[in-house]
């Protein structure tokens, strides 16, 4: 009888993180890159909840709440930045950004 163990969830989290990382590297649209950051944050959340079940403590699920709030704040600020960039150059591609070059 095979049992769904902690390892399976950790493997899924590793795969999800890797996919998010790949997307972050190969896409040039700032919006898609934000979605990939969300993927990576969610894989970390999955790890937290898996650890919460593994150790039988509630702290893992509380950490997920903090990650959730930080992710929401990050999305709000990041999308505002994307909108203001788009107003300037009418494209959301990160490679055309020269504004922050020193």
């Amino acid at each position: 009888m095979i049992e769904v163990s902690t390892d399976w969830y950790l493997t899924l989290a590793a795969i999800l993180f890797s996919i998010g990382f790949i997307g972050m590297m190969i896409r040039k649209n700032a919006l898609i890159m934000f979605m990939c950051i969300e993927l990576m944050l969610n894989s970390v959340n999955l790890t937290f909840i898996t650890a919460s079940r593994h150790f039988g403590t509630i702290e893992g699920q509380i950490s997920v709440f903090f990650v959730l709030v930080v992710a929401a704040a990050e999305v709000v600020v990041g999308l505002a930045i994307i909108v203001s960039i788009f107003k300037k150059q009418s494209s959301a591609s990160v490679d055309w950004l020269r504004a922050s070059r020193g």
């Binding site: 950790l10 649209n29 999955l46 505002a80 930045i81």
Partner: protein, 174 residues
């Protein structure tokens, strides 16, 4: 058997949604792939006995954050083709190198332990149900200071978003 099905089907949907996120060309499709991933993750959270977190995941991520994403996609338009020319020299090469390292580490761990990751601490044998009751009891006593700091962070983020997106230039009269 039911356990395995309840893990495998949402896990497959998670990976499918993630692949849609990184490979679809239309930004709306990417956003829908992200919704698929987040909703399937909520199912996985339920199988991990984190029911309240699963509900919050559905409300905050699949509800609020995705709506925000779709609003921005609506504002900046979806009809512009993505730039494909490489601005950074050797970007693909560097990404493949990073992927090789990442894949090497994962396959090393898997081969060495045969998918039994050597967790140093044994699992407990009782099941912990992540009810609102239990979470609030810990969040509002032990973790009250981070909780209050988070509220400051949210206010700062809201003010920053308004300051960034606010149009200071005078508009032409129509």
């Amino acid at each position: 058997m039911l356990d395995i099905v309840l893990f495998a089907v949402p896990a497959g949907l998670v990976i499918l949604g993630a692949l849609i996120v990184i490979f679809a060309k239309n930004p709306v499709h990417n956003a829908m792939g992200l919704v698929l991933t987040l909703a399937s993750l909520a199912i996985i959270y339920i199988t991990l006995n984190a029911t309240f977190v699963a509900m919050v995941q559905m409300l905050v991520y699949a509800g609020a954050v995705m709506t925000l994403f779709l609003f921005v996609i609506m504002m900046i338009g979806v009809d512009k083709p993505e730039q494909t020319r490489e601005e950074i020299k050797g970007q693909t090469f560097l990404v493949s190198g990073a992927l090789l390292i990442l894949g090497g580490i994962v396959s090393y761990v898997v081969i060495k332990s045969g998918l039994k990751w050597d967790l140093w601490f044994p699992a407990v044998d009782y099941t912990l149900e992540g009810t609102p009751d239990l979470i609030a009891g810990s969040l509002f006593t032990e973790w009250i200071l981070p909780f209050e700091i988070i509220s400051i962070l949210l206010i700062v983020a809201t003010a920053a978003a308004i300051a960034l997106a606010y149009d200071t230039k005078p508009r032409k009269k129509l």
